[in-house]
């Protein structure tokens, strides 16, 4: 079990800036009387396992990791809770784009075509867009071919590289459509990966939510309450906190909510990614 006094958070090192972010949080919590430490994992799978094994008080989880935590907890008679998330984790959408000059006008036109997606384990660039296509009667690998851009497995698509590769595959003609998160469409245009006006948005998924701080219910409640209280008290008006919020990409912390993960639950089952108990089913998943 984790140290009684020090709050221990797990996070995934998907980028070098992660160290800067959590070191900054460590200073912030220490200044407010909460001893804080963090453990970095190279992948979400081990983080979830260690969390449920009682080695962490909380885990900064991707949506996929959240669902695995829910299932693994349930399998052992526990329950997890999403205690907070970023304002920017709420109401995201993904888009399926094609080249502006392409003959593809509707999703139905994707039949027998190639759709570029992100990493195998990316909710936003792979799982949710493929789920959206299923809802539109297009079954992956049956009605169309899926081209994975499987960068940095285990990081659940946090790294932007897979989406950028998918966008490149679309532009160089290796794919007929590409799946990316909404904000990356404008971002890829601005950075030049997608020439301005060269793409058309074919479809947009329903809004979904992204990361959250996950805790196991009933464990270290006071410590977790203190963590949550200090977290929600962070304000963008505070010049010492602001650089951390900017790095982590939020303006305010919000209460956690879980309705935004429903589509992903369905996607996981359709893809047979995890089973009901959170066991990994996909034999091609490397992390």
């Amino acid at each position: 079990m984790a140290d009684r006094e020090t709050f221990v958070l797990g996070a995934v090192a998907y980028d070098p800036k992660v160290v800067t972010i959590w070191e900054g949080f460590k200073t912030y919590f220490a200044r407010h009387g909460l001893p804080f430490d963090f453990v970095l994992y190279s992948n979400y799978e081990r983080q979830v396992e260690e969390h449920l094994a009682g080695r962490l008080h909380a885990a900064w989880n991707s949506p996929l990791a959240w669902i695995r935590a829910v299932r693994m907890a349930r399998a052992t008679g526990k329950e997890v809770e999403a205690i907070a998330m970023r304002d920017s984790d709420q109401d995201l959408t993904s888009v399926i784009i094609t080249r502006a000059a392409s003959r593809i006008q509707t999703l139905a036109d994707l039949k027998n075509k190639i759709v570029a997606v992100g990493a195998l384990d990316s909710p936003q660039a792979t799982m949710l867009p493929l789920h959206h296509l299923r809802l539109n009667d297009l079954t992956p690998e049956v009605d169309f071919a899926v081209q994975y851009n499987d960068l940095l497995g285990g990081k659940h698509g946090d790294h932007i590289g897979g989406e950028r590769e998918a966008a490149r595959a679309l532009m160089n003609g290796k794919a007929d459509a590409a799946c990316i998160i909404d904000a990356n469409h404008l971002f890829f245009v601005k950075e030049g990966t997608l020439p301005a006006g060269a793409t058309r948005i074919l479809a947009q998924t329903a809004p979904f939510d992204h990361c959250n701080f996950t805790v196991v219910k009933g464990a270290s409640e006071d410590l977790i309450a203190r963590f949550r209280e200090l977290l929600l008290a962070m304000t963008y008006e505070d010049a010492e906190v602001r650089p951390l919020l900017d790095l982590e990409g939020l303006k305010a912390w919000r209460e956690g909510r879980i309705e935004g993960y429903r589509a992903l639950e369905a996607a996981i089952d359709e893809m047979k990614f995890y089973d009901e108990d959170g066991k990994i089913l996909n034999p091609n998943y490397r992390y």
């Binding site: 109401d91 959408t93 959206h132 909404d182 404008l186 948005i201 074919l202 947009q204 963008y236 303006k251």
Partner: protein, 437 residues
């Protein structure tokens, strides 16, 4: 019901404008007039506007309310159920007339944009002549901000060694800077380089030796202010600018003396141990005020006499002209040094003791060297003599002795103006390096 519930709610129409061609500018402009928590309606026609708006608002910390009655055309019918179904705003306002673009969304202004500027500080005032425009101790986190700018809280700290007004300022700095900027000349056009120079070989050699010596000294005069320039807190903008111009002045001096020396020769003259030892004590001086004193007030001040001497007695018009142009600039360098020291002495009389100690220290450090090199002294005599007769040499020698007396007299005048007593001024002037600079 055709009116909005909140009459203050504005709607803007950005027509075909897209986020990849500046849509955020019009939206930000309208949001600036929208109170925090209030909504702004957005109409537009660009195909990707709704998608880009969603990402942009998320990054800016604004909420979005999608018009409940309108289906987003890019969303497939099967996935239109929203996590957030808000339609508190009257739906009638979403109707579109012929010349209006369709309503895309309502933006609820977040507080992050204004929150960023809480605790921001105004970094003095731009115009130096206004009361407290230039503060005594500018904070390290004002950094490179323009004086007079509003600095966001949490800006990184810069560590400038010269970060107090007393350590760099002078009363007439803005005027000195303006004069310096106005007095810049172009070496290519300010001097007629095609003018014929036909000196005897020996006199030409003397001129080349003096130029060689001048270049070496100008190099010290360039490096010393350049070293301090990078340490000045940019809040003291005029001091930084004036030193920058001074460095550029010295660069031109090096150029014109080099060009004059190479006019008829391929090689330059001699550089001596004693000359460089003297200059090394200047380059090594770590204190800006002491360096200003040794370089500007004593060194460049003494150099002024030398340049005027060359302007008067040099054997060819080109050499006279280059000396004249350099002297104009040097006079300003001396003026800044004097003004800065006067500013500091007025605030702390003990500065005079530090200055006196600095002359003594330098004198002790140089006591084992031979002072002005013989080659330079002799070259000055030959140059002033102009010919090789006994009478001419005697006259030249007398002129150089008089030059040294003039140098001493003007040094004493400056020391008196700084506040030294006459006997102190006399004694300190006598301790000045025999290398002139």
């Amino acid at each position: 019901m055709m009116k909005m519930e909140k009459s203050s709610t504005r709607i803007i129409d950005i027509k075909e404008l897209t986020f990849d061609s500046g849509a955020h500018l019009l939206i930000n402009r309208a949001l600036a007039d929208t109170p925090i928590g209030e909504t702004l309606g957005l109409r537009g026609r660009a195909a990707e506007l709704a998608v880009h708006l969603r990402g942009w608002c998320r990054a800016q910390g604004h909420e979005i309310i999608w018009p409940g009655s309108t289906l987003d055309p890019v969303v497939a019918p099967t996935s239109t159920q929203r996590i957030k179904q808000q339609s508190t705003i009257n739906r009638d306002s979403t109707t579109t007339t012929l010349d209006e673009s369709p309503l895309v969304a309502w933006i609820v202004r977040g507080k992050a944009g204004t929150g960023r500027w809480l605790g921001a500080q105004r970094a003095g005032l731009a115009k130096a002549n206004l009361g407290d425009a230039v503060v005594d101790l500018p904070p390290a986190n004002w950094g490179l901000a323009a004086r007079g700018a509003t600095v966001e809280a949490g800006t990184p700290e810069f560590h400038f060694g010269l970060d107090t007004k007393a350590s760099v300022w002078a009363e007439n700095l803005p005027r000195l800077y303006a004069q310096a900027a106005a007095a810049q000349w172009d070496p290519a056009t300010a001097i007629n380089w095609t003018e014929a120079v036909n000196l005897s070989e020996e006199v030409e050699t003397a001129v080349v030796q003096i130029m060689t010596y001048l270049i070496e000294n100008e190099t010290a005069a360039l490096l010393v202010p350049a070293k301090f320039l990078a340490q000045i807190h940019p809040h003291f903008r005029e001091a930084m600018q004036l030193l920058a111009i001074q460095v550029a002045d010295e660069a031109r001096h090096i150029e014109i003396f080099t060009r004059r020396a190479l006019l008829r020769r391929e090689e330059l003259g001699l550089s001596t141990v004693s000359g460089q030892a003297s200059l090394k004590t200047l380059v090594d001086e770590p204190d800006f005020t002491l360096a200003s004193f040794l370089l500007a007030v004593l060194g460049e001040g003494t150099f002024l006499n030398l340049l005027w001497f060359l302007e008067q007695y040099a054997p060819d018009p080109l050499t006279r002209r280059v000396a004249q142009l350099a002297a104009q600039d040097e006079a300003r360098h001396v003026a800044f040094g004097m003004a800065h020291l006067q500013y500091q002495i007025e605030r702390d009389k003990r500065t005079l003791e530090r200055l006196a100690a600095a002359i003594n220290r330098r004198h002790d450090a140089l006591s084992q060297t031979s002072g002005l090199n013989e080659e330079v002294f002799d070259a000055l005599v030959i140059l002033a003599a102009g010919e090789w007769t006994a009478e001419a040499i005697a006259t030249g020698f007398a002129k150089v002795l008089r030059l040294q007396e003039e140098m001493d007299a003007s040094r004493q005048t400056r020391l008196l103006r700084l506040g030294f007593a006459p006997d102190e001024a006399k004694a300190l002037s006598a301790l000045h390096t025999r290398n002139f600079m």
